[in-house]
């Protein structure tokens, strides 16, 4: 849906190639595109404004080094500034206080407070070796306290026993007393969700905060939030004084502009991000990844990590071995196709790749989608074990059989055969070159060399930005190339 910023900037800068430095009008043209990219990523309007002003100041008059295009130069400045604004260093819960250290969880309804409370408790217990108690102060939502109790059981963290008819404030007092008596290091107080303008509930949090004097007041916010993110953050910050933010649902496909908005209006660090429904799905905040995501440059690092998680080691080793021998048969292709579906289908994979806008359109027009993957799987599954091992066996009559078995046509089987051959050829190439370098060329689908962005640059421009996106799928290992010509 969104065209990546790089595509947009590409258009603006096409006519500027070979210029010595960025003029004010060049930069202004670029900033219009940057503005739209940020707004489409749900960065709040006021934050976009101040951000753009900062970038403009830095960009005008910059020398354009020969090795990059003006577009890349601007993206680098934008990217650097974004990372700067998102906060460079990872921060985690501060426990510098007399135990039991209270941590207050606050946020809107449905932002994921209770789950996040349990995730933090789990990490504090397991990684930081703390004795943690959790207490739900949510007397509003049906079964909210039950939810925290069950989660506590799952992660083996104690929860404050429930009592009927208590107010949030009295539960907070009881939690503090109980954790003090029982020698807990940390007590996590999970408050009820509220809408920001509900002053009554806001006063209640204030009161709880005053009574318990928490070391951390963690604002839990949904990464899918739109422009309201600034209002929410400001409101909680003004009323309670937030000390850190946890962004939930970062495993979704939102561009995550809320991170920038909330961070820039509160100035407090983003302490972690929630990346899944499981209680271990809490990760450190990586500003550089989120910056890439906001700009629509794709989250290549996360993709690689996800691939590493999903693709089973044994399978990978088997394929690596085969690769060395230069073999790649339909069995291998089947494994890889299935891995793509495991990683969330093509959509899931694509959402993390740069240059997605154009690519998705192209893939759609080439008829490549999750259905076509399912068809390819069906084709391979309709082959005999021998055919899968030696694709050369597939003559016309076998092809007809496979086609009728998989409900496809002979043409589709020919196309798949061609893909298999091409991939086998690449595998051979990689096998000969050996090592990571070869893998790199496979991964980028082309030249693995990164452009020189000048001294001190830590920006790694994803391949898709440099190659004109489109000729090939910019190569996940083993992802079938999709036909550009039929």
């Amino acid at each position: 849906m969104f065209d990546a910023l790089s595509d947009r900037l590409g258009n603006v800068f096409d006519r500027l190639k070979g210029k010595g430095s960025l003029s004010e009008s060049d930069v202004n043209a670029a900033m219009r595109e940057v503005r739209i990219a940020l707004l489409e990523a749900d960065v709040a309007v006021e934050v976009v404004k101040s951000f753009i002003d900062g970038v403009r100041e830095r960009a005008v008059g910059q020398e354009v080094t020969k090795s990059v295009t003006p577009g890349q130069q601007v993206i680098k400045i934008v990217n650097d500034n974004l990372i700067g604004m998102l906060g460079k260093e990872a921060a985690w819960i501060e426990l510098n206080a007399v135990p039991p250290v209270p941590i207050l969880m606050i946020g809107l309804q449905g932002s994921g407070k209770t789950t996040t409370a349990a995730k933090i408790a789990s990490r504090l217990t397991r990684r930081d070796k703390k004795k943690v108690m959790m207490a739900s102060l949510d007397v509003t939502r049906p079964a909210a306290r039950e939810q925290l109790r069950v989660l506590g059981e799952q992660i083996d963290v104690s929860t404050l026993p429930m009592a009927e008819g208590e107010t949030a404030v009295s539960i907070a007092k009881r939690a503090m007393a109980a954790s003090r008596l029982q020698g807990y290091d940390v007590v996590i107080l999970d408050t009820a969700g509220r809408v920001t303008i509900d002053q009554g509930l806001m006063d209640e949090i204030k009161q709880i905060s005053e009574i318990t004097n928490p070391a951390e007041k963690i604002l839990v916010a949904d990464a899918l939030t739109g422009q309201d993110a600034v209002t929410t953050a400001k409101n909680f910050h003004q009323n309670v004084g937030v000390t850190g933010i946890v962004l939930t649902r970062m495993d979704g496909d939102s561009r995550g502009g809320a991170a920038l908005s909330m961070r820039s209006v509160t100035g407090v660090p983003i302490k972690a991000v929630g990346t899944g429904e499981k209680l271990e799905n809490l990760e450190d905040f990586h500003p550089e990844r989120v910056a890439g995501r906001i700009l629509g440059m794709g989250d290549v690092v996360s993709l690689v990590e996800k691939a590493a998680e999903t693709i089973e080691v044994k399978e990978a080793e088997k394929i690596a071995l085969k690769m060395q021998k230069g073999q790649f048969d339909f069995n291998d292709m089947l494994t890889q196709l299935q891995q793509v579906s495991k990683m969330g289908g093509l959509g899931g994979v694509l959402a993390m790749l740069p240059g997605v806008g154009k690519l998705q359109k192209q893939m759609a027009s080439a008829g490549v989608d999750d259905k076509s993957i399912a068809r390819q799987v069906a084709i391979i599954q309709s082959m005999t074990a021998q055919e899968r091992k030696s694709p050369k066996l597939l003559n016309a009559s076998r092809k007809r059989r496979v086609a009728s078995g998989s409900g496809t046509t002979a043409q589709e089987i020919n196309r798949l055969l061609k893909q298999q051959m091409e991939m086998a050829r690449m595998m051979k190439k990689v096998g000969k070159m050996g090592g990571l370098k070869g893998l790199g060329s496979l991964f980028g689908g082309g030249d693995p060399i990164q452009p020189d962005l000048g001294q001190g640059s830590n920006l790694r421009i994803p391949e898709g930005l440099i190659n004109q996106p489109g000729q090939n799928f910019p190569g996940l290992p083993g992802l079938p190339k999709f036909p550009t010509k039929r």
Partner: protein
């Protein structure tokens, strides 16, 4: 309560909710104008204000364009600008404002409720159940969120409050099995309406979306025409990701309508306008508060006027 009264309280409720925030738009627009000429700079400021209510870049652009076509270089007042926007927005929204109509002959009229985590599915189901109960319909609920801790308990509480039977199975059961049982039971017990809750899921999680599609297939084994409504519950604070949510859920389970919750907060729900334009899916109701009657039919005129801070 007469319908006039309901209208009025709906309006005041939504306005109350929207006021904190739409004040920003309104005072923004008022700040830009005190009878002045509509020039490029003013248009840009107006665009920012529209975008800040989550209308999205495209819709904001278009509204601005329409305005400038008619009024560029002319003297305009802030009220005029707000009225123009409200009217345009109302026009976009009018075709999608459709309440859910329970088909009495179906017995059960099956409604599947889906959405991302935390959007307010279970609460919405509780409110819908209560409203239909009040109309004298017999309602049955199915606790299809077998994943989240205490989700079943949460729906059970709603069942007690609304005196509605809740079909449950232990946590971790295949939700399709719960749905299957619930359909059978609703047919046997001759219920008018069956509302099936589902676990929250992010739309880019393919395996979870497949699970949802499976629920639909299993329902259709017993009732080929069901679910008669498939509701997507959207959090009113959601930003541009709503496009992806609607597109994916629609593709996987043929969403037939939207319910937008939490509009009593500071979020303005401008995304509804963008979604109406792009997907033309009915907006069945909006949630403007915690009380049961705070789930209201969606009124485009009131919404558009509230968004622009008009009375």
């Amino acid at each position: 309560m007469s319908s006039d009264n309901i209208q009025k309280s709906w309006f005041s409720r939504l306005k109350e909710g929207l006021s904190a925030s739409s004040n920003k738009v309104v005072s923004g627009i008022t700040g830009i104008f005190t009878e002045k000429q509509l020039d490029e700079e003013t248009l840009e400021q107006l665009e920012d204000l529209l975008i800040s209510s989550d209308l999205g870049v495209n819709v904001a652009n278009r509204l601005i364009k329409t305005l400038s076509e008619h009024k560029f270089d002319k003297q305009v007042s802030d009220r005029e600008v707000r009225e123009t926007f409200a009217k345009d927005i109302e026009l976009i929204l009018e075709p999608v404002a459709k309440p859910i109509l329970i088909e009495q002959s179906l017995k059960p009229h099956v409604i599947l409720v889906c959405g991302v985590n935390g959007s307010g599915k279970t609460t919405t189901i509780g409110k819908l159940a209560q409203q239909w109960k009040a109309e004298g319909k017999s309602v049955c609920l199915a606790a299809g969120d077998t994943f989240r801790a205490a989700a079943i308990e949460q729906l059970k509480v709603w069942g007690e409050r609304t005196q509605t039977p809740v079909i449950i199975q232990p946590q971790g059961t295949d939700p399709a099995a719960v749905a299957y049982d619930a359909v059978k039971k609703s047919i046997d017990d001759n219920h008018d309406v069956l509302i099936i809750d589902t676990a929250g899921r992010l739309q880019n999680r393919a395996e979870l979306m497949d699970e949802l599609a499976k629920i639909v297939r299993v329902i259709q084994k017993t009732l080929p025409e069901a679910p008669h409504n498939c509701l997507l519950v959207l959090d009113g604070t959601v930003g541009q990701n709503a496009h992806s949510q609607v597109a994916t859920f629609k593709e996987m389970v043929n969403v037939t309508g939207l319910i937008v919750t939490k509009l009593d907060g500071s979020a303005r729900g401008g995304i509804i306008v963008a979604l109406a334009e792009k997907f033309a899916l009915p907006v069945h109701a909006v949630g403007v508060g915690e009380a049961i009657e705070d789930l209201r039919a969606f009124d485009p005129k009131i919404f558009a006027q509230s968004l622009m801070g008009l009375d």
